[in-house]
Amino acid sequence: MTTQEQTAQVVDLITVVIDGFEVSVPKGTLVIRAAEKLGIQIPRFCDHPLLDPVGACRQCLVDIEINGRAFPKPQASCTIPVEPGMVVKTQLTSPVAEKAQKGVMEFLLINHPLDCPVCDKGGECPLQNQAMSNGRAESRFEGKKRTFEKPINISSQVLLDRERCILCARCTRFSDQIAADPFITLNERGALQQVGIYENQPFESYFSGNTVQICPVGALTGASYRFRSRPFDLVSTPSACEHCASGCSLRTDVRRSKTLRRLAGDDPEVNEEWNCDKGRWAFKYVTAPDRLTHPMVRDASGELQIASWPEAIAAAANGLRGKRAGVLVGGRTTVEDAYGYSKFARVALGTNDIDFRARISSDEEREFLASRVVGSITSNADIDRADSVLLVGFEAEEESPIVFLRVHKQVRKRGLKVTAIASKLSIGNEKLKANFVSVAPGAEAEAIAKQELTAQSVILVGERASESAGALSAVVALADRTGAKIAWIPRRAGERGALEAGAIGNVLPGGRPVTDAAARADVSAMWGVEKLPSEIGLSSEGIFAAVNSDQIHALVVGGVDPHDSGNNAAAIKALKSAFVVSLEIRPSEVTKIADVVLPVAAVPEKSGSFMNWEGRSRFFEVAVPDSLNRSDVRILSMIADELARPMGISSVKSAANEFAAFGEWDGAKLNFSPVASVPVPKIAADQAVLTSWRRLLDESSLQEGEDNLAGTARKSVVVISPKRASVLGVADGDSVRVSNQHGAVVLPVLVEAIHDDAVWLPRNSLGSHVLATLGVASGSLVTVVKD
């Protein structure tokens, strides 16, 4: 867009005078925000730019006249949009406004306990600050304050101190308007008004932490942070969230090398000012007592022994040297680390056998990624403009919660049409008022083909689309037919970056096809190597199979859990038989069998960047500066040196610079060859087709130790349709057993809107570790019986 076009888009500017200064703002701008443009700060509490105006606290009263006609009384500047001919006098120029504001501030403080010295918010509290800037030095209140029991838990992670609350209703409006979780509300009246929860509906919102962040006083506090620190003892670092591909900007607050809390950062194009509870409250894994701190090498007796770095690097290089090796990259690497793995595979190991998809995946998906996703620029702005959104293999609220908020905002603001092709109607899709197209697991392709979209539509495709053969082919066909945009939204934070970095068997950095000689020439020139492998490499499952058929003998594994694989038995067998170099932050299944274990830095201990699902770079600096742990790329570089095949990227910065120098590939992308769908298996009366997804809050390794967070996880249930429930003779809460030849999961049943042929389980929740127990996750036959 040119500057001229940008100017042309901004229409209807209105000029108003505030405290004697003219300012021009777009029509509809609230007075309080027009004043901000001039640097005039009008005190406020209930006002929040992302919430609907409410005018409840009355702190922002100003004098207003329009074309010479003055309002008879001061007006709340947070509720009144600018108008032509408006003259505003704030507390700076109007004694009436100043007195009104001081009066309101005095009222707010009469029932406030003024316990700032023991309040978490003290030092960063809008009430404290504005009481100093716009209040009276001393209160005239000599009566009795209203008291409440304090604090009370409104969920396992949020505490409420009703004495401190000034009833601005930010928390309740957020929960209702933004999160669509109206689980808290104001009740009682007068000075006894208070925030409350419902009797039978707990405050189990994935976004509840935002209420703590936007509370303008210390009324809502996080259970894990309460009394842990004072804001002025914290060192804050802008950072990016490692939990999912939404790519939230965060602020990490560290004291004495320990992360004490994380807050949502302010990024209007991505997460606005919100994040999810996982991003906010799941970080103790970094300081877990079992963190790997020293390199280890397995000795002749099969025991891991602590080793020096040179020893361990030499052992790794010796084990890899001369062997055909594969590289398995976890889904949470930074772009720089993924680039390191990508270059390490090609330069140090001379192979394209690399895959970042440490999960169920398919070759159809790999072609889809190389042909349709790499370099794609579908973005949040496309969702904002979309005429409709189609969800395929994607549960936004569970798998990319900030995308959920984005879609929900448009649903609320302008009734954006959402269609979900899924086997089960989810809570999130109900909140999006989605048109639920119910399909049997595996029958997605047929339903996708029937959709009618336009060039203004966006198809949000999740990683689980790869679990249904032909689904991605149908998505490609639909996009080609209608012009709709494709947005691939993986669950993990590192996958899009790893794809762009070429940590996959069919493309090199920047989406360059490995089969394209010109592309290879580009890359080999950049890397200063003579030749790059030209065959498309193996996928992760292919690599495990190759190890098990004795073709590959060594594996470099970065943060991969074999139980996430589509065939965990084959994965574990392969890891046991190959020479394994493991780069990890904490002991895992791989550590148990690895030959060399190399500890790496966790996100707060390193710098780098993630690429969110849009392909947008999310750079972050080191938040814990004195960590001794190193980023993966640094360690890979040392191994490459030891192998005498240097990569020349010994730091995150050099890796970032080198990757940036590549730019996007402007040649032809790989072709996409459509794959036919597989017929849904016939089911017997006691059988069903399994479907599952991971819930946002579950038993994932990055949430370990966060008990307060786990307290708000949705309960584990097995979901069946009303028809199946009546056949089985079960009702909500009864025990149901879901089993196959590998094992069984027994959970209370929930009868809900789900395809009659399907049964749903949470993939990795308490009592339901589907892949580890059943060895399958979706599309397979299971037996469903009353327990």
Binding site: A56, R58, G103, V104, F107, E188, G190, A191, Q193
Partner: protein, 435 residues
Amino acid sequence: MTTLTPVLSAHWDEKDSFTMAGYKRHDGYKAAEKALKMEPDAVIQLIKDSGLRGRGGAGFPTGMKWGFIPQGDNKDHYLVVNADESEPGTCKDMPLLLANPHVLVEGMIIASYAIRAKYAFVYVRGEVTHVVRRVQQAIQDAYAAGYLGKNIFGSGVDLELVLHVGAGAYICGEETALLDSLEGFRGQPRLRPPFPAIAGLYARPTVVNNVESISSVPSIINRGAEWFSSMGTEKSKGMTIYSLSGHVTNPGQIEAPLGITLRELLDLAGGVREGHQLKFWTPGGSSTPIFTAAQLDTPLDYEGVAAAGSMLGTKALQIFDETTCVVRAVLRWSEFYKHESCGKCTPCREGTYWLVQILRDLENGKGSEADLAKLLDLCENILGRAFCALGDGATSPITSSIKHFRDEYIAHFTHGGCPFDPYASTLFASAKAGA
């Protein structure tokens, strides 16, 4: 002497005034039949011409309010009748509904037709079960007679009328809080704009009218705008119901043309309690600044009362004689406002909480002149700073009583407590004395 004009209350003394038969005996439902044969816009014009103004307190012209409803917008329109009469001292809508519920039903039929509403709601306060029963019966009878439901009066027009019973919150008399409550939410006033005429009940164009305003409509249809505007004063047309309570010989409702004075009304009601003199009174309920004997001849119409520094409000004339401690009376009112403040906005929520504590101290003789200054300053910080008029109303009795009775406030702390005998001001005290 003003001639009384009983219209709404003309037949309250008949035994069956509240029944369909009783109502029809006096041309009941003739106005609706007539109005349904007129153009809706002509009905609105007729009401505009009559000069009828809202009887709920604010005095907004009723016809103009109806005219604000956008027509031809392909949206449902709603009529909502505010029968949440809760203002202390006000007792006109409840007796009206008790004695003549059908006049409201008929008025609602006409008003709904005029604004093209197919649904109309009556929001009655929850405490008045006996009134609720009579309105319910009247609605049922009107349905049975074919005046409500499908094709009413054979005119092809449909109208559903729903009775909703509130749960006892003063704030729900505020029209937008009433709409919230009617929708099933907690009653708290809404941010305006949008005004109810654009986005009211269920975000649809809605007219909210007082019971008395709507009940006045059938008589205007029957007898014409000129007849109506022949009563009252220049800008305050028609008859209205004044309710007298407190230290008055015969408390109750008096229907008179707007502009009658308290002196006349007191004469009609047998005067102030025997052996006592008028000390102060409210012209329109506790939210309107109090008057003293000096305003006995103030015309009780919208302009007259405003010119004298108060508001006509709901025409709730509470009469207090010289036995009454004004501080105690104001404290009672303030406790009411504190109890009824909805809690949404700071000045009203915290201000009423604070005012009560200061007033309680003053009544108990604890305080000084500085506290009066503080009290007035706090009122200044509430008046015009609150979200709705409840906060403003809470300050009226305080500021006006200090204006008229400053010495009495001071007497409380020079005297070391309230100088009055609270027993003497009770009605049972006079009953005993009289016996």
